[in-house]
């Protein structure tokens, strides 16, 4: 019997698991896919919003500003890449200027630190690549950029290391409320739990429907992106937004913590929450909008297009409260942007809600070990590199040449608390395949290392989710006989 079962291990589920692992609780995390961080968490703008967008007084406003303030310390503890680069919202005409004024006032009311309305000249001085057509800008120094899947994986790893049980490939098919506890039927078996946290992202509504019905409706909204080579990574050094509209925060141009440039997203309502296809019109829309902010953005430097799906609902605010139909289930629903930025604060707030629901004050887990370290060879000085390789020669073999990722880092990732089974799982943990050749050179070698370390046949190593088969058989003379 678990005390709490968290459904979904995106950045919200992982944050909550990480927070709850600091207490004496028996916690289970159920994830449908073969890895954590595979939904909205892995495909988004990777921005830690400052908190000027949400309307004052909302939960969203409070948790965004608080989450943004928590991010620097959290990411340092967990060895997750993060940079407080600040953001600019651009105005191109008088209507935009009025919007800027509105979000500036929002930001002040929300307690966003350091907000400043600046002139177009000042904005171009800060960011010379900005368009001549910019008439004013809002400067928010507290905004940042983060590795979103890295944050989710780190939080989940620390949770698991501190005793949280994570079950992958465990999509929930039914929930039975037996009064004192729930029976949760999943693809990997049935689990019993006193409380449930529903943070299934795009599938929150489905979970609600297993427990008496959903108080909201979900409209998946897809956003497409370009990711540009590191040679374009310095095009801008801050997050460049346009004025927000009803459909979202608009197309941004921003550096990533990995040194690339991210351009996107558009916003398109779609029927299938799994549909992460890119489209020619969608990419064209992104390109046109991006050039409005940064006319010389060099999309020929693109190394990858991708799309993410937002868990938009008909609620304007986050919903973090006990279910009306099943009161031992905590709803953490409608977590759209700025969900990533808010995630640490959402977890803190969710824990408080759970305490209220249970009518207890959680007892600290005195065995809790916080923090995580990760070797990042490419970030070391020559002397540090020399020392590391002398200690463990595996760090001397570079497998991913674009990103300078060593075999040692890949082996570390494979033997981490949540072992990946796919090439993309390695990419999200170690960074191999993130670069300009997109795994063309290192893919076969990562596959070989995964197969060796996990003791699996090479044919069983996946690209990403279940079903993403890489090798379909042997050649006529074939197959590397290990």
């Amino acid at each position: 019997m678990y005390d709490v079962t968290i459904i979904g291990c995106g950045v919200i589920g992982a944050s909550i698991a990480y927070t709850l692992s600091q207490y004496k609780l028996n916690v289970l995390v159920l994830e449908r896919e073969n890895d954590v961080a595979t939904g909205t968490t892995k495909a988004n703008s990777a921005i830690v919003h400052a908190g000027y967008d949400p309307e004052p007084g909302t939960l969203m406003a409070k948790l965004n500003v608080r989450g943004c303030a928590m991010m620097e310390d959290l990411t340092r503890r967990l060895s997750v890449e993060y940079k407080r680069v600040g953001s600019l919202v651009l105005a191109f005409d008088e209507a935009d200027r009025a919007t800027l004024q509105h979000i500036y006032e929002n930001g002040i009311a929300n307690g966003v630190p350091g907000l400043e309305m600046i002139s177009a000249e000042k904005a171009r001085e800060m960011e010379p690549a900005l368009a001549d057509t910019v008439v004013a800008a809002l400067w928010a120094p507290s905004a940042g950029i983060v590795d979103p899947w890295g944050l989710c994986i780190a939080e989940a790893e620390v949770a698991v290391r501190n005793g949280v049980t994570l079950k992958l490939r465990s999509g929930v098919s039914a929930i039975r409320d037996l009064g004192e506890h729930y029976e949760i039927e999943t693809a990997s078996g049935t689990y019993e739990s006193r409380y449930i946290v529903n943070c299934a992202g795009l599938w929150c509504e489905d979970i609600c429907n297993m427990t008496g019905g959903a108080p909201f409706t979900t409209t998946p909204s897809r956003g497409e992106y370009y990711l540009l080579d590191k040679s374009s990574g310095n095009t801008v050094s801050r997050v460049i937004f346009q004025c927000p509209s009803k459909v979202g925060k608009g197309v941004l141009v921003a550096p990533t913590v990995h040194g690339n440039l991210i351009v996107g997203p558009n916003a398109e309502d779609i029927a299938d929450p799994f549909d992460v296809s890119c489209t020619a019109p969608g990419l064209a829309e992104v390109a046109t909008a991006a050039r409005k902010s940064v006319p010389n953005v060099n999309l020929r430097d693109s190394i990858r297009n991708f799309a993410g799906v937002r868990a938009n609902t008909n609620m304007s605010d986050f919903m973090i409260e006990p279910s009306k139909t099943s009161p031992r289930m905590l709803q953490v629903c409608g977590i759209k942007s700025p969900g990533l930025a808010s995630s640490p604060a959402i977890a803190e707030y969710a824990a408080e809600q759970l305490e209220a629901m249970m009518g207890v004050k959680f007892e600290k887990n005195e065995n809790f070990v916080d923090g995580r370290t990760q070797v990042r060879f490419r970030k070391m000085s020559p002397a540090e590199k020399a020392e590391l390789v002398a200690k463990n020669p595996l760090y001397g073999r570079v497998i991913c040449r674009c990103e300078t990722i060593t075999e040692g880092e890949i082996v570390d990732a494979i033997h981490s608390p949540i072992p990946p089974c796919s090439i993309d799982g390695i990419k999200r943990r170690a960074g191999a395949g993130m670069g300009r050749c997109q795994g063309g050179f290192c893919g076969p070698r990562v596959l070989e290392i995964l197969s060796r370390e996990l003791g699996l046949d090479r044919k069983d190593i996946l690209q990403d989710k279940d079903g993403t088969i890489i090798i379909t058989g042997e050649t006529k003379t074939g197959g590397a006989k290990a």
Binding site: Y226, L227, S231, F274, D275, V276, S277, C278, T279, A280, G282, L283, L299, S302, I303, R304, N305, F306, A307, P382, K385, V389, A390, P393, L394, G396, R397, V398, R401, T404, T406, E407, R436, C437, Q438, G439, G440, F441, G443, P444, E448, K459, L462, Q463, D464, K465, D466, G467, T468, I469, I470, I471, T472, G473, E474, T475, K476, T477, G478, A480
Partner: protein
């Protein structure tokens, strides 16, 4: 540790450069190769057709590589394999890391860049569609088949008609896969004519020119692609869609010289070739740093890589003996009508012995034309008739010193 010449890369370019430097009398040479064997991409090119120019016989890729590895064994060139160069400083310090040797800093008098090229990816050309598995660059698929011994699919559509894609069409077919189509956005193929004939026509694989993939569908793995005809501006024409049920897409959509090390060392890069700007001896903008092979410009034939690399290796050895060339007259080379780029980009006239080979690609297919070299005053310096010109086949001309001496200012190469 220090060497006279350090060669970065042990593929065909690096091997030829190292052997040539040795043959020129240099006795302190090191090749640094990141893979576990010398030979570079030739090792996975198990088809024949290599060496017709250089060896006057037809070899497979591994055989061609072996010839040079054998020559290398007769020299005293040091080889570091499974070793990655992390940085080259403008002072010619080469930082390398390997499992066997740890972190090493080698000092060179001269460096030869021979890192080769990489394939353009799906992201580089923004192919729409699902993010499913089963999409490989042709070279990555070639490695899986020919080095690892694994098949990557059963029903294949190939996008792009570059040589590796064409070779893989035949290879996948021979291994029992069904290659449904080769789709090329341009109105002509980017590959060699002999590969179109031997790899597509001989196996009845249709080549759709002026077509492109407009959608890739599939959940886990590719299930279907949509191919459409394109207009002159390469925009898809609605109503021309064809669907192919397939589980694999191979991309053969171009190669890019791999110059991240060159850039970080501060070497001037030519935006046309995406390789270093070089002189007739393949010296880059940093004196004593040379570049050769696909890192300079993408070749179709390894034989030309060899010839160019021998020249670079010999020049690197000469540099170690006598330092920078001192030519007072430098002729800049420009690409005129119908020509995409030239290599070299400039010629140090006083250092030219005999003649200078000039390599370039034309921009379009044409027949019965002349390649004309003019100086800055419009005077024709040389003219070479050609029956057939195609962007897929690299052109070369030889400019003798006696003709170069007549030039005023720079030289422009055009198709007329």
């Amino acid at each position: 540790m220090s060497y006279d010449v350090i060669v970065i890369g042990g593929g065909p370019a690096g091997l030829a450069a190292a052997v040539a430097a040795w043959d020129d009398g240099c006795r302190s040479i090191c090749i640094v190769e990141r893979d576990r064997e010398l030979g570079g991409i030739l090792n996975q090119c198990i088809h024949n057709g290599f060496g017709l120019h250089h060896f006057k016989e037809e070899l497979t890729g591994p055989e061609y590589a072996e010839r040079f590895v054998d020559l290398l064994k007769q020299t005293g060139v040091d080889v570091k394999i499974d070793a990655m160069v992390l940085t080259i400083t403008p002072e010619k310090e080469v930082h390398i890391v390997s499992k066997a040797g740890g972190y090493e800093i080698l000092q060179a008098k001269s460096v030869v860049l021979a890192m080769g090229c990489r394939e353009r990816t799906r992201g580089a050309i923004a192919i729409p569609g699902a993010r499913c598995a089963g999409i490989y660059t042709a070279g990555a698929a070639q490695r899986y088949l020919n080095i690892e011994g694994y098949m990557v699919g059963k029903r294949v559509v190939i996008l792009g008609s570059g040589d590796i894609g064409l070779i893989m069409a035949r290879r996948m077919t021979l291994e029992g896969a069904k290659v449904l189509a080769c789709v090329e956005v341009l109105p002509y193929s980017g590959g060699l004519t002999r590969n179109i004939v031997q790899c597509l026509n001989d196996f009845d694989i249709p080549l759709y020119l002026s077509h492109t993939i407009t959608d890739i569908q599939g959940k886990g793995r590719v299930e279907r692609v949509v191919v459409s005809a394109v207009d002159e501006k390469r925009n898809p024409i609605p109503g021309t869609e064809m669907e192919f049920d397939c589980d694999t897409v191979l991309l053969s959509v171009g190669l890019i010289p791999e110059n991240e090390l060159s850039r970080s060392a501060g070497i001037e890069i030519d935006p046309r070739t995406q390789g270093p700007v070089v002189d007739e001896d393949f010296m880059t903008s940093i004196p004593g740093v040379f570049a050769c092979g696909n890192v300079v410009h993408v070749h179709d034939l390894v034989d030309f890589v060899t010839a160019e690399s021998q020249r670079a290796g010999k020049a690197a050895a000469a540099y170690c003996r006598s330092g920078s060339p001192t030519s007072e007259t430098v002729l800049s080379m420009k690409n005129g009508d119908g020509v995409g780029y030239t290599v070299p980009q400039h010629i140090r006239l006083d250092d030219v012995e005999g003649s200078v080979p000039v390599f370039f690609r034309v921009r379009a297919i044409s027949h019965d034309k002349k390649i004309v070299v003019r100086d800055d005053e419009g005077q024709i310096i040389a003219s070479f008739p050609r029956e057939h010109l195609a962007p897929g086949e690299m052109e070369n001309i030889k400019l003798p010193r006696v003709l170069l001496e007549r030039a005023h200012g720079g030289l422009t190469v055009s198709v007329e």
